[in-house]
Symmetry: D2
Subunit: 342 residues, 4 copies
């Protein structure tokens, strides 16, 4: 069935798959010590404009990456500030709490939080005489793009980064869909900007063309000691680390990662126009590959027989917000078919 | 370089890879809800002789599978009995303890533990007036084959299963290399036997022909409630569950899993004969794909320039135990080359 | 210094201390198996109108009690609904998260949450197609009185209890200050009502006349199996359980617990009147032993040289909310002295 | 009933209790910030010969103290070496594992481990090519006296301390019964020696004259940052910290702690002589307040009707090892009565 259900409905981008096929018979060492992981790490560091004190590791999925990064970077007395709608707070089944960490949610706007709100939270915290009995804010987590497809401007990110350092916190960017955030026509951020404006982030593979895998980037010599051991302890160390090394090596060869992002954004813009031209309303103005459309429930029922999409939330008694996502695998035919149904 | 370093040096078995390529463009739902996961589960249940009350789930790696199974099946007051050399006790960086579970190690023999030793442990435990202040034995964990390549006979497994039930414990079999255990010429166990003689086990993919993935099998309606949520909470739920579904579907089509095991065992037998014929001694008599050879340190230094293998442990001041592993990717040429070096 | 800083500024109520002295030389068994723990449990069950299927245990402090109860009663996939200002969410340093549990905070009003809000949360949760990836609501936690001194009416508690059962959740009442809640002149709840209208609660000792200790009451045969082991595992099992057994035995002899509550409420009412008569404003209308007064910062600075009280929160640029608490140890002289300063 | 069941059968030493009574009505601040905690800490540091960079905290019980110290001092990739019979490994219901830490047990002799065994463990560990996948040894835990009443000599302790530092590990001494270890006639250790020869230790109160409480001593500016927050997070922060402050202040006034130890040791020596004179055999030669006697099962059954003691372990089909413990509360009459029964 034609599907806009998510950006992980298909396998790997053909060029990524091709590299897996080409390297399949090579004998490689395990646990991320192979040459493809090394090569991918080098290419990522270069693309990020980072030097030798940066470190790159590959972890198979996003929730796990969040767990590993947050639980290894925070100090024992710290928790993590995030938007109330942030993935770690809302849709990871309590994964960070399972690792002992408290989420400190702030009310977000279209999935975003502001430097001002973070600053106020911290000032209130340190101004409270009882704060020694409370969870210290030790990190700010943002997703870029957010769960609502929205993005941060360079100014907003710079402000967040500064407020983090003002209060001795790390800034962690969940880049599960980073390819789409960077290629958004509304974005003034480059990959180098992102790398320069945070302490740690990850470049999503699963939702941006890989079969699985996220590349964690510690930007400034701040990788936790014995990090491979910590990954193993958390169950997240794949024996065939090559699976991710080869894929990320392909994604960061000849601009494939950018190409994937650009293509999906282009498809999303066209999808957006199709809906807009037909008079549909949007739940919010998303500049990335996830588009949130308000559908009459009757129209929804009719559509879902023909195409796949995601249910987001109830909008009113007669309307529902649904999500249409594009990716490298979205085709012109998919869009035409969708248009024919509206 | 020619390598016997492990059974995870190459990518996927060609037939497995081929299925990934063939299905790459299909639009599938996420998180293990796709048709390939369902098909693989059906085929596995059938191969195991299990009925509708059995459940099959796919998890990306072995340590993680052990963590997930053990932490979800044990009650709060229980720990897990295992061999002191068992993977969960020795080589998983404290992964189950990270999830709050205490390992209760018994001294093993060539990696194995006996029903008699388990029984004695439990009788001593319950005979101790202070046992309410101790960790209750709630599960027995064995690896099959063990970390030393040894296997359990049907009689031994039956005895273990019975003693588990006598003391109200689950029996959990770590089958990371199950394909080799079942195809060993010394084995009198079938996959159906294994499924019938334990409460939960996993069929290893990573070390038996897949890029990644282990198939957890709950044999008797004993799958923990909301298990997908529990997997997610532990960071172990892949968005593209298809990656494992497709691979296991291939492994359980036309007897591929057996074929992979049989081939590697055949190669291991030939490798064993090569060493024996040249007068080398073995650390122990392994009937599976891992062979532990005692090498003079001078010979070791010479060999390691030409082929890869694993270091196991110091044997004496002048000798070392090393491991040679075979797999689907071991070739006749590999063996001939090795023979030429001995 | 005269102190209204909290209800735990003094040692034990004289009658409680006397019993510790009288029983000091008796040889008793450890870990809560002594006759005083048994006697206290019997008296508490009787006072609660509970039968033989109820269970009572003693734990040394409130945060620990919350940790133990919540982490043992919740299922693996569940978290706990609470007010955003609830002690477990705001002032326990992430203690329940340390035990792997996610707090699910609802916006409260003067520290309270409503059955309607809980119901809406649950209906939204189960109405969400993605809820298998979220933390299930498994318990509702309320404090009675709340952290703001407010209380629930019988009707409100009944509604909460019903909504809990509608959604298969336990209702847990943190009764750190229960003595004051029950003796409040605005309360229509008895101890029997509380016991009948929840699944588990605790009767606070530390803040109501004991040196330490909270009595956890499982109201209906729902005590987790091997609960003593679970307490021990969480570090919360005192060797000299008698310390708490003797104190609670005293608190539940001849109505001492009620007497302590009544006396403190009487003192609080008088304190309230003193402030009101002098024209001070209250942050909210608390009917229990904690009174929240709005002070000019200049007055605050003057007062704090003479009496102790608690800082609560900033009210405006020139005013602060402070807390005055009463207890069994508050004297007429204390009140007169305070009055003389206003 | 006359009891030798343990050293925690009675309440507090009369002088300790007296101080609780005397200070009961004083208004003090909470959570260990009161003057008695401060005074007790000063006296303890002085008695230990420690300077201003040492830190002292009070925690209510031994298992909890072990949990808190071990989980806060270890790095994420580390576990704790201990004797297989060590309290943390054998009799704490998996408490440290619940906090995510793996115990690394060594076979002990009469409850003790040696520097040589620790060194060998570490050398084997670091010599293993796979050690990055294993739990790093980060601390050595010993109990002094051990669970079998045995003690370490100054030479043995010095050797352990040196081997710890050789391998970058902390040495942690569980001094639940330290008073008895120091006063043993076989001991050549002083409290100052103990403090000088470890990184952290605790001075047991519960089993040495207090109602509850253990004094944790960080010997050298190595107290974890925000330690009070970490105690709170682990549920171990008592509101009325005074309860422990006052007791330890009394224990470290006028040599009471030494007096309690000396008296109990004197009683133990006499008890030992009574058994020896009557021809009873000992399970091992304990120089402290716990004596392990081998009893015929028929004698055991007869005795247990008249006096209380502890069951330790089966010795043979007809004999059992039982424990007789002395303390400050053991009387001459108790010993005479026991003698009359033998």
């Amino acid at each position: 069935m034609v599907s806009f259900a998510s950006d992980y409905i298909a396998g790997a981008h053909p060029k990524v798959l091709q590299r897996l096929v080409e390297t399949n018979h090579e004998n490689l060492s395990g646990y991320g010590t192979d040459e493809y992981c090394a090569s991918a790490a080098r290419k990522i560091k270069k693309a990020c404009g980072l030097g030798d004190d940066a470190d790159v590791f590959f972890i198979s999925g996003g929730t796990q990456t969040n767990q590993v990064v947050i639980s290894t970077m925070l100090k024992d007395y710290e928790g993590v500030i995030c938007a109330d709608t942030g993935h770690i707070n809302a849709h990871e089944a309590g994964a960070i709490e399972y690792f002992g960490v408290k989420a400190l949610p702030l009310k977000g706007t279209a999935g975003k939080i502001t430097a001002v709100a973070v600053d106020e939270y911290c000032r209130t915290f340190y101004g409270d005489d009882n704060h020694e009995h409370m969870v210290f804010p030790g990190m700010v987590y943002i997703s870029l793009p957010t769960e609502y497809g929205t993005i941060y401007s360079k100014k907003e990110l710079t402000d967040l980064y500064e407020v983090c350092h003002k209060h001795d916190m790390a800034l962690f960017i969940d880049g599960a869909r980073l390819a789409y955030g960077l290629q958004s026509k509304s974005s003034d951020l480059t990959l180098k900007d992102v790398a320069a404006l945070c302490d740690v982030f990850y470049i999503g593979g699963t939702k941006c063309g890989a079969l699985c895998g996220e590349a964690v980037v510690f930007t400034k010599g701040n990788c936790p000691k014995h990090f491979v051991n910590l990954i193993k302890k958390r169950g997240a160390l794949l024996a065939k680390g090559r699976l991710m090394g080869v894929q990320f090596d392909a994604l960061f060869t000849d601009g494939l990662y950018e190409e994937i992002g650009r293509y999906a954004i282009d498809m999303a813009e066209r999808l957006k126009k199709i809906f807009a031209d037909k008079g549909y309303r949007f739940f919010l103005d998303s500049p990335t590959n996830q588009q949130f459309v308000i559908l009459d429930n009757s129209k929804l029922k009719e559509l879902e027989k023909k195409v796949s999409f995601g249910f987001w939330e109830k909008y009113s008694d007669t309307e529902t917000v649904v999500r249409f996502a594009t990716s490298w695998s979205t085709t012109e035919e998919d869009l035409k078919f969708l248009e024919s149904l509206l």
